[in-house]
């Protein structure tokens, strides 16, 4: 279950092929496995180590550095409430307290129905919009306790499911580049100077 499925293994091989060194594909593959299982499991990390020809210790070392990789099950909606200075001054503490009361859990844990996880977060880079929070990494600005309650109700009823995809789909959304926006790797023949990611029109005359 927690190793990559055959379908995802095909995607993984595709991702690995994009990089000159296999090891570089580790982060996208961690997203892929999180998307599959909801969190990063030990077996999945072993599988990635096999695929990338590195040790499981290197995989866990890299994965645990990043807050967005989870190592145990989280809710469908992960709510990060900013606790840093601007937000704290504008009521983030009270917001967190309210959230805990409303959902009946402490920060860092998940509701029994598996819907919500709340986490205390560091600065979300929107200090002018304090207090802020993220729901599955979608910013919410100037959040009041009423906004919070409304949002929880909307998420429960499914009213927001078009706006906020369930947790763990970041990798998929990232890679779903519309065809007309897709640039891809330029043909090496097209590149004679300048950075490789900017297609260069060359006059060969």
């Amino acid at each position: 279950m927690s190793r990559l499925t055959d379908a995802n293994l095909a995607i993984a091989r595709d991702i690995i092929a994009r990089y000159p060194r296999k090891k570089s594909a580790l982060i996208p593959l961690l997203h892929l496995t999180q998307e599959q299982n909801g969190y990063v499991t030990d077996d999945a990390m072993r599988h990635l180590a096999e695929l990338l020809d590195i040790t499981p210790a290197e995989v866990i070392g890299t994965a645990t550095f990043y807050e967005m990789f989870k190592f145990e099950e989280v809710g469908t909606y992960v709510i990060n409430i900013c606790q840093t200075m601007s937000c704290a001054l504008l009521g983030a503490g009270a917001l967190m307290h309210h959230a805990e009361e409303k959902l009946g859990i402490k920060a860092g844990s998940t509701t029994a129905d598996g819907m919500f996880t709340i986490e205390a977060a560091e600065c979300q880079a929107a200090c002018t919009e304090a207090p802020t929070m993220q729901v599955n990494y979608r910013h919410q600005y100037r959040v009041t306790t009423e906004d919070f309650d409304q949002m929880i109700d909307d998420l429960r009823s499914g009213a927001l499911s078009g706006d906020i995809p369930p947790h763990g789909t970041l990798g998929r959304n990232r890679q779903n580049i519309p065809a007309d926006k897709f640039v891809g790797a330029p043909d090496p023949d097209d590149v004679t100077e300048g950075p490789a990611w900017i297609p260069v029109k060359v006059d060969n005359s």
């Binding site: 030990d42 990390m45 072993r46 590195i54 040790t55 499981p56 210790a57 290197e58 995989v59 866990i60 070392g61 645990t64 550095f65």
Partner: protein, 811 residues
């Protein structure tokens, strides 16, 4: 050490030229100014002019000029990372004084360095204060206390007091990260030394930083322990007490330890070590940095097998077989009995009825004394090996040093898996390959530790390596080629490896050879006289003669043929066929149990002398502790027997081990430089020379495998049932156990599950082993580790056969 010496000689000419120009006259002035040495960079260190080397780190240049800069993460044998920030000093490169980590900046001309300025001092004190914000002050119960860089530098470079009053961080007290190493995360200062070692030096990236920020900690993957053969080094280089070794924990305080420099003799690499003891018991080995040999590293087997020396099982007194079995007796009675047995046999069958095997376990002096005794008695059946190595002629080739191998343009690996057999040589050659100094071309029938670093790893059918070499001869060209040749497969004749070596040397006659014979002092023993005169009198021939009842007396010098001869059946028949067996050994082995007279021998750490490593480097071993019981060194036993047998000559006339060392220097060709004076205080030992002799013609050429059989490869693992490992409880448990490793498709074809027993049917015996599915094994090959508990694969080996083919049946 030696690099410093080299530099001293490099700088001398510059001084001399300066001196000449001072009192020179016009004629000299007309000469052009001497070119400044481009490798010397003049810098100012604390106001004085010093000559640094081009590319040298500031911290290294300062240390070389007697200015110590405090540091934790910097280690001269690993890449700098600038993790700990303790080595901040003020450096001016033309833009004014700035604080810089001195391990991350190389010297440049006109650089000014101040390691003692107010600013530098404040930075260093601040770093210590920060490190101690969380580091517990549990020095009184910490193994590192007393030899701890953090403790020492907190005194020498710390502020003396802390502004932090907060509660320190707490973690679960030590957690095992392997069977040998424990981690106390509270004490860790995140210097990255252990993790860098695991990655850069050992290549076993099984520990890694996990989490981040304040939570950062060194960790293994769950259920994947730090099972590196080199894990003990991380304990030695840990600058705090975060990593401790299970065999030494809470055994002693550093100030209670007395130490002496010595050489490790677990294998023939000859790593330089210090032996540390307390209350006359060896408690620890630490690696010492010998530039041409071990760079300060050791393998875990060498580091922890001192437990065997302290073992309760040691043979403490001589024993003679009576009706009650082996019974303790006095030395005079035992030696008298031994002399009587030898005298009787000389009278009855002459010197050809006596065989002497072994010597690789002892010192050069031990082997030399016994060789002298054998010479005096006219004994020709003698060998330090018994079918487990390569013919002694491999030592007579143009021999390479480890340094030459590690800087060769191409390293050709033939045979042995040196990660299992000669671990520190593996580190040196792995480094050469990883740093792209050398191309690595490997010929092996199974994957080895070096395969993943090889430019070309050529798999051949067991026994057909000469063919593989001939096909790949274009890879062997070049000026600077070193062949590392060992015995990779104990289930095939050594002739196959020798034929392949001959093929390599035919393809590239200028190639040098590093013989990867693995036993501790096998090269020394063979060099000082324990080499057989010809194939008719070598170790296997001796065992055959004994098995055929032609030997009256078989003398075993620390040899355990039943465990160490690949052909165990031959060894058993030899032990039964010899009329009398005299065993001189440290521990009861299967062979000593069958002996008639057992003489208790002193072990390493208990006797002084010299040892020779695989490149022919002779270095000292020291007698740190007194011997167990009444045990004596082998050379002393030889001398006493010589006196009892009324032999006139040098051997009966030695009073101390130094006399024997001097006699070796006087008599053994190539050892004339190995004098007591030359050895005294010489950490790197003295290199002996051998007159290159061409390889005698050898006929290899095993038949092709038929498709019904599997061809057997029996190779060594680092940990097996050999006495030094088996008697050391910490490492004995690491032996992998017996198994028949097969390619997964071959396992499927047999229709057995992984781990089920299969029967290997050979020409002369069968063996039952659990099957292990192993994708690194080629199809048609079955690989089994040698001398492991739970299997008898050795029974299948016939020393007379070129290869061993087996049929595999499901049990």
């Amino acid at each position: 050490m030696s690099t410093e010496d080299t530099n001293a000689t490099e700088t001398e000419p510059v001084d001399a030229v300066d001196g000449d120009t001072d009192d020179a006259d016009e004629a000299v002035e007309a000469e052009p100014e001497p070119e400044p040495d481009p490798n010397i960079v003049p810098v100012t260190l604390n106001g004085r002019e010093i000559e640094a080397r081009k590319g040298e780190l500031v911290i290294a240049a300062a240390e070389r000029h007697d200015t110590y800069i405090p540091h934790f993460c910097y280690h001269p044998r690993m890449k700098s990372v600038g993790m700990c920030r303790q080595c901040l000093v003020e450096v001016d490169t033309g833009r004014g004084m700035q604080l810089q980590p001195s391990c991350m900046i190389t010297v440049s001309p006109e650089m000014k360095i101040d390691t003692e300025s107010e600013t530098a001092k404040r930075a260093q004190e601040g770093m210590i204060e920060l490190l101690l914000a969380n580091h517990p002050l549990d020095c009184p119960v910490c193994d590192k206390g007393g030899e701890c860089p953090l403790q020492d530098q907190a005194f020498s470079h710390g502020p003396g007091e802390s502004r932090y009053i907060e509660e320190k961080r707490h973690y679960e007290k030590p957690i095992p990260i392997s069977d040998l190493v424990l981690l106390d995360r509270e004490r860790c200062i995140l210097c990255d030394r252990c993790t860098r070692f695991a990655d850069e030096v050992a290549g076993d990236k099984l520990i890694h930083f996990t989490q981040r920020g304040n939570e950062t900690q060194v960790m293994t993957f769950p259920d994947e322990p730090f099972a590196s053969y080199f894990s003990g080094n991380t304990v030695q280089i840990c600058p705090v007490g975060a990593l401790t070794a299970e065999p030494y924990r809470f055994k002693a305080r550093p100030w209670d330890l007395a130490q002496e420099e010595s050489t490790c003799t677990s294998c023939s690499v000859g790593c330089r070590v210090v032996v540390q003891s307390s209350r006359d018991e060896i408690l620890r080995y630490q690696g010492v940095d010998s530039d041409p040999v071990n760079h300060g590293w050791m393998c875990d087997k060498g580091r922890f097998d001192f437990e065997a020396v302290n073992s309760q099982q040691r043979i403490a007194d001589p024993m003679v077989r009576t009706e009650q079995g082996l019974t303790d007796t006095t030395w005079s009675a035992a030696l008298g009995a031994a002399a009587g047995v030898i005298r009787e046999s000389l009278a009855a069958g002459g010197p050809d009825a006596i065989g002497v095997l072994g010597g690789a376990r002892g010192t050069n002096e031990d082997a030399f004394a016994w060789a002298q005794l054998a010479d005096a008695l006219g004994i020709t059946y003698r060998d330090a090996q018994f079918g487990d190595g390569l013919p002694a002629s491999v030592l007579g080739l143009d021999r390479a040093t480890i340094d030459e191998a590690a800087s060769a343009s191409t390293i050709v690996m033939l045979g042995a898996d040196i990660k299992e057999e000669l671990p520190v040589l593996y580190l040196r050659l792995r480094d050469a390959a990883v740093e792209k100094r050398s191309k690595l071309v490997e010929f092996s029938s199974v994957e080895t530790g070096l395969s993943r670093y090889a430019t070309q790893s050529i798999r051949h059918q067991p026994g057909l390596q000469s063919e593989a070499v001939n096909e790949a001869s274009d890879l062997l060209a070049g000026d600077d080629v070193v062949v590392v040749v060992g015995r990779g497969n104990l289930a095939e004749s050594a002739d196959e490896t020798m034929a392949a070596l001959a093929a390599v040397l035919a393809a590239n006659p200028s190639a040098k050879v590093l013989p990867a014979l693995r036993r501790g002092n096998v090269v020394g023993a063979l060099s000082v006289g324990m080499a057989p005169a010809d194939d008719e009198h070598d170790g296997l021939a001796t065992l055959r003669a004994a098995a055929d009842g032609k030997l009256d007396v078989l003398i075993l010098l620390g040899a355990d043929p039943i465990n160490d001869c690949p052909d165990t059946d031959l060894a058993r028949r030899a032990m039964a066929g010899a009329r009398r067996v005299i065993s001189i050994d440290t521990h009861p082995s299967e062979s000593t149990k069958l002996a008639d007279i057992v003489l208790a021998a002193a072990a390493y750490g208990e006797k002084a002398g010299t040892t020779t490593n695989l490149e022919g480097r002779v270095s000292t071993v020291s007698d740190k502790v007194t011997t167990t019981g009444t045990a004596r060194p082998d050379w002393m036993i030889a001398a006493e027997l010589a006196i009892m047998l009324d032999i006139d000559g040098d051997i009966a006339d030695v009073a101390s081990v130094d006399d024997v060392t001097a006699a070796i220097a006087a008599e053994v060709p190539g050892f004339d430089g190995v004098t007591l004076d030359a050895l005294a205080g010489e950490r790197n030992g003295v290199l002996t020379s051998a007159n290159p002799k061409p390889l005698p013609p050898v006929v290899g050429g095993a038949p092709q495998r038929n498709t019904y059989d599997h061809r057997l490869v029996v190779g060594r693992k680092l940990y097996d049932r050999a006495i030094g490992t088996a008697m050391s409880h910490s490492i004995a448990k690491l032996a992998p156990g017996a198994g028949a490793h097969l390619h997964p498709l071959d396992v499927d074809a047999l229709g057995v599950a992984d781990g089920a027993d299969v029967r290997l049917i050979g020409q002369k015996a069968t063996a039952i082993l659990p099957v292990v599915s192993n994708p690194s094994i080629a199809r048609g090959v079955v690989w089994a580790p040698f001398n492991q508990a739970g299997g008898t694969v050795e029974d299948l080996i016939d020393a007379a056969a070129s290869v061993t083919d087996v049929k595999i049946e499901v049990v």
